[in-house]
Structure formats: C-alpha cells, structure tokens
C-alpha cells in the first residue's frame, strides 16, 4: 500500500530517505502500523510527539490502509 508520510519541523530531514518517492509517499507491505512507517524511515520514536492519520490524532500503533495520509511532529506549540 502507498502511504503519504509528512514529517515536520526537526523531523523533516528524515523525509530524505531513499524509500520515499518523489510525491512523499512510502510503499509498505500490509498490514502495517504508523510505527512500521516511521521505523522504515529511521525516525527515532522518542522524538515523535504528535501523530495524525488523515488529519485525526492517532498513535504509532494505528493501522494503515492504502492512500492514508500520516503527519508526524516533534513536540511543538505556539499561538
């Protein structure tokens, strides 16, 4: 399945991984969770604070399906 993985702020550099295609997508063999996706990209789990799956707050254990959009952030705030 093809997953759009969006990495932000200090995690953006991990999107440079060779497994990511030119559209920012990752191909995974199912079944897989968000943790599988970030492990593949080498993102250290302890640097991850916020996980979104199709715009909804999720966890690394959330299951993925084809064409999902995942957003990963370190701890951030503002306002």
């Amino acid at each position: 399945m093809k997953i759009e993985v969006r990495l932000f702020a200090s995690l953006a550099a991990y999107a440079d991984h060779g497994d990511m295609d030119s559209e920012g997508c990752l191909n995974l063999e199912g079944p897989a969770t968000i943790r599988d996706a970030v492990l593949r990209l080498g993102v250290p789990e302890q640097e991850i604070k916020l996980v979104f799956l199709n715009g909804i707050g999720a966890s690394l254990d959330s299951s993925l399906k084809d064409k999902d959009r995942v957003g990963i952030f370190p701890p951030i705030g503002g306002g």
Partner: protein
C-alpha cells in the same frame, strides 16, 4: 508601596496615589479589569473623556522571574464595546515596575487636536508637544525617541491608525532591539490612546533600584526551578526558539483546522510555503535572527528578525496568527508579501489578526482578488492616507463586511476570529464564543489539549469536555496575565504539576505573602467576574456569546459543524 500614576490628558497634569485596599494586591490584567470596572461607566463611548486607558505591569514584572515582563493594557474596546485587556511584551512593563508604578492611567481627553507625549522618569513626569511626530510610523517613532531619550528607554506609541482612532488600531512597543514588533494589538486600544491625543509614552528607569524582594533567597530558589522548567520542556525549550509560533502552520493544517479562504476549508494547499519551517530556512539563508526574546529575562525567545531576499530587515515578531490571517485566510502564499503586510501593520499601528481577517473580507467583497499579496499590500497602504477605503479597512472585519454588504464575517462581539477553526478545534471555539474579550485564542487556548497534546488530550472534533477545558483555561490564563507572565509558560506548567507552585512561590517571595495554588484559581475567577460584569453593564447578554451562522456549515476535511447549544456555552462562563 507601588503607586498609581494618573495622567489627565486634558489638563496635562499628573498625580501619584496610593492604591485603594481592593486593588492594592492586584497586578496586570487583574488590576486593569478591576479599575476599568470601577472607574469607567460601561455605557460610555470608548473614545470619550469618560473612557480610560490603563497600563499595568504584572505582579512579577520587574523582578528577575523568567518571562515576567508582560504588560496588560486595559480599557473599553472601541472594537467590541466591551472590556479589553490586551497583553504585550516590550520594555514598558519592567520599567514601570522598577519605577514603583503599579498602573499608569490615561484619563479625560484634550479639547484641541494637538498631540502630546508623556515621558516618565524616576523623579518626574513630563508632557511634551508631539506635533512633529504626527503621521510618523512606529518604527521611525522608536528611532526618534531612542535618539532623543536614550537607547534603553521603553516606548509605547501609536501609528496613523491610532491617530485616526480606527477601531483596529494597536499600541506598539519597542522590543529590546528597538523594533516595533510588540503590540497590544487586539481590540483597538490604539484608538483610545489616539482619542486622548497621546502619540507616545516613554518610560525611563534610569537611577532606579532593583525591585525589592521580600525574601530574596526563596525567590532565587523558586526562579531557578522556574527557569529549569521553562528551558527543559520541549515546546518552550526547543520548538518555540527554533521555529517561532509559525511552527503551528503545518500542524494546524495537518489537523484540518487551518481556516482557509475565509473559513471555507481546513487545509491550505500552500501551507508549506508559509510555514515556520520555511520562515526558519529563509531567516538562516538571509542572515536574520532565528531566536530572540520580546523582553529582557525571556528564556523562551520565540521572536525573530525576518529579512527580505536582499538580507535587509523586513519585520520581527512574525507570528503564526499574522501569517495565517494574511496567508491561508486570504490565500496568499508568498511569505515575503505576508512579512511586508506584518511590517505595515506594525508601522501603521494595526492589529495583525483583525487586519488580516479584514483583508480576506475585502477579497470576499471583490475589492481585490483572492491570493493577491501585492494588491493586499497596496490596499493596506491606504490606511492613514485619507482614502476612505483605508478608513474602512482600518476599522476591522465587521465594519468592512458591513460596508461591502457581506454576511460571511467571522467575528464574535465584532472582533475577528484567530487562526483555528472552531469546528475543528472546539475548545478554542468555546473560548472565542464566551470570553469577555471577543474572539480571542489567547483567552483560553484549548489548542493545547485539542491538537498539541499538552496538558492532556481532548478530541477536537467532538463536544465532550471542550466546554470544561475552555473554562479551566480561561481562569488560568486570567491569572497568568495578572502575574505578568508570558502565556507560553502554560506549555510546561500544564505538563508539570509543580509549575503553578513555582509561580506562587515567586509571588510569595516577592511580596511576603502566603498564597497557595488554589488562590490562583480564585484570582482567575475574580478577574473574569469583573470582566463579565463590565460587559453586562455595557449591554452584553448571553446572545453575544455566539459564533456567526457561517460556522453551521460543515467544515472540510472532517465535515464537522459548530453544534454547541446555548445552554452548553453558558456553562463556560458560569462561576
């Protein structure tokens, strides 16, 4: 004991008075709101002689407590018609505190049209003619004032928007480098200052002693823990210094809550172009300043200097809210155009949120095309020129919407909504609807629990628990504003059960008090009660605690609606 400094702007006289018992222990927002309730008739015109403008340092301002240099500016808002506390960094708060001034009150108004400025020093207060400064923009104003009075003085000034008493007018403050990037922006208090014909206030603390501490050792110990708390939390210690508040663009967009094209959808396809990451990259490439504080003693340093492509200064204090308002809300994707709009707002003396939202209303009304940053810059430049369109724009979103015959106007109590859609971040939506300030995210920042996972986690798309968390945050925020602390201390304080105790310990050590943590809640509630009472006397009813009809429409991508009942909303401000 600290004094109240009253300035009569008609007679050009001043007096110091000992604060009455009921206000002696108050500071910041607690003091401004109590004094406005006590002294300003709620039905009076905000620009009349009966109106007052009050500047009050927080309880900890002037002390060595980290991030305690915030100032409360209070009055009756010409924008909302209700009570207003607008909070800012800069240098005024700490210097007033060192001068032993608990509150500076501008009263009455001159009968002629001549502008003055007030210069406050250790041993005297002076009125000086300011005719030569009329029409001068805020950045030039600060340069002129620093040249004349010395580089360390604190300044508060209004631009042409304030001079013309437009209801989006801000009061701008010099930051430590002399840029006008700090503002009491919301609610049009710059117009109140303009109505009293005060172009600028200069505060010089030369020759003053350090602020007295009742128990210096206890204070030092508490402040040490406080600094560790602020610098060790990942948000206040790393995220904010690295990317500024604009780091929020991507996360709010990802959450589907970034109001785009006047609150039509929650995702902006060009979010990355206007993100904190892009801003940080430009700053690095163009030799800007990635991180700096808005006042001495700040350890978070979320501000920055943003240069243009030729490495020349463009703006500072370039905030998420501003970038959203001129960016996603208006479909403008050129960050440099947005930076220019921010700079123009600082110089003209306009609230960036109100003005950015207004720009979207001008696009809604066909005055300029959606997404046209250059046209927005030209339109904004009309403010202060005498062009009637400039007068319309400078009076905010509700006024402009009315002028253009538009019903899609995102305001509560005539104040424009900030950068989080209330249908997709429901806790902050409850705050927009119910705070006595008019739509204001800072009054109860439920984004923490809804999106950022700070202080717990509450579903942003459902109603459950979002009224309660808004209420809790509104109470806590009022107390933080009274202490003179930067609101961003809330990120670590919400995550650490000892955080509030540290604040209480510092206040106790400063004043020789024996407050407990519960007193913080009591204080927050009493502030809100004062503000709600003022608004009640001004004619506000629960019907004013509502979002406009446009929020009944489903909001993509989550297709949620604004679905709180009147009874549910009423709970947020029931004490």
């Amino acid at each position: 004991m600290s004094k109240i400094l009253r300035i009569n702007t008609r007679e050009k006289t001043y007096s110091f008075e000992t604060p009455a018992e009921d206000i002696a222990g108050l500071g910041g927002r607690a003091l401004t709101s109590k004094m406005i309730l006590n002294e300003v008739p709620a039905t009076s015109h905000p620009l009349s002689k009966y109106s007052k403008l009050i500047f009050a340092p927080g309880l900890l301002s002037g002390s060595p407590a980290a991030n305690s240099g915030r100032l409360s500016v209070g009055g009756k808002s010409p924008l909302t018609g209700g009570i207003k506390e607008s909070n800012s960094g800069g240098l005024v708060s700490q210097k007033l505190a060192r001068l032993g001034i608990k509150a500076l009150v501008l009263e009455d108004k001159p009968e002629d049209d001549r502008f003055s400025m007030v210069v406050i020093k250790k041993d005297r207060v002076e009125f000086l003619a300011a005719d030569e400064y009329v029409g001068v923009c805020n950045s030039d104003m600060i340069t002129k004032l620093w040249d004349r009075f010395g580089k360390r003085v604190a300044t508060a000034s209004i631009g042409v928007a304030g001079e013309q008493r437009l209801t989006s007018a801000s009061i701008q403050f010099a930051d430590p480098k002399g840029h006008p990037g700090r503002a009491a922006g919301r609610g049009g208090l710059g117009a109140v200052m303009g109505s009293k014909k005060i172009k600028a206030i200069v505060v010089d603390d030369k020759g003053t002693d350090r602020v007295p501490l009742h128990d210096p050792d206890a204070f030092k110990a508490a402040n040490k823990k406080w600094v560790e708390l602020l610098t060790s939390h990942p948000v206040s210690g790393q995220g904010l210094p690295a990317y500024g508040t604009a780091i929020l663009v991507n996360v709010i967009n990802e959450a589907g809550a970034l109001p785009t094209k006047n609150f039509r959808t929650g995702r902006f396809e060009n979010a990355q172009d206007i993100s904190g990451e892009t801003m940080a990259a430009n700053i690095e490439k163009r030799s800007g300043v990635a991180t700096e504080g808005c006042h001495p003693g700040c350890v978070i340093k979320c501000s920055q200097v943003y240069n243009d492509k030729d490495n020349n200064y463009l703006t500072s204090g370039f905030e998420y809210e501003t970038i959203w308002a001129f960016g996603a809300h208006c479909l403008i994707k050129e960050l440099d155009d947005i930076a220019m709009l921010d700079r123009l707002c600082d110089d003209l003396g306009l609230d960036t949120i109100e003005t950015g939202v207004t720009m979207g209303i001008a696009m809604e009304g066909g005055i300029i095309p959606w997404g046209d940053g250059k046209a927005a810059i030209e339109l904004l430049k009309k403010v202060g020129t005498g062009d009637p369109m400039g007068k319309i724009i400078g009076n905010g979103a509700a006024f402009t919407g009315q002028a253009l015959g538009i019903d899609r106007v995102p305001v509560v109590k005539r104040q424009a909504l900030p950068a989080y859609d209330p249908r997709a971040v429901k806790a902050v939506g409850v705050t927009y609807a119910t705070t006595p300030m008019g739509a204001d995210h800072t009054a109860g920042y439920g984004v923490c629990q809804n999106i950022l996972g700070v202080g717990g986690s509450i579903d942003p798309l459902k109603k459950d628990n979002n009224v309660a968390i808004s209420k809790t945050l509104q109470i806590a925020t009022a107390a933080i504003d009274a202490a003179g602390l930067c609101l961003f201390v809330a990120f670590p304080v919400l995550d650490n059960p000892e955080g509030l105790q540290m604040i209480v310990d510092m206040i106790n050590a400063r004043y020789g008090l024996s407050l407990v943590v519960d007193d913080v809640t009591t204080l927050g509630i009493s502030i809100l009660r004062d503000e709600l009472e003022f608004n009640r006397r001004a004619g506000f009813t629960p019907k004013d605690d509502r979002l406009p009809d446009m929020f009944k429409e489903p909001f993509a991508p989550h297709n949620t609606t604004w679905d709180f009942t009147d009874e549910e909303l009423a709970e947020a401000v029931k004490f």
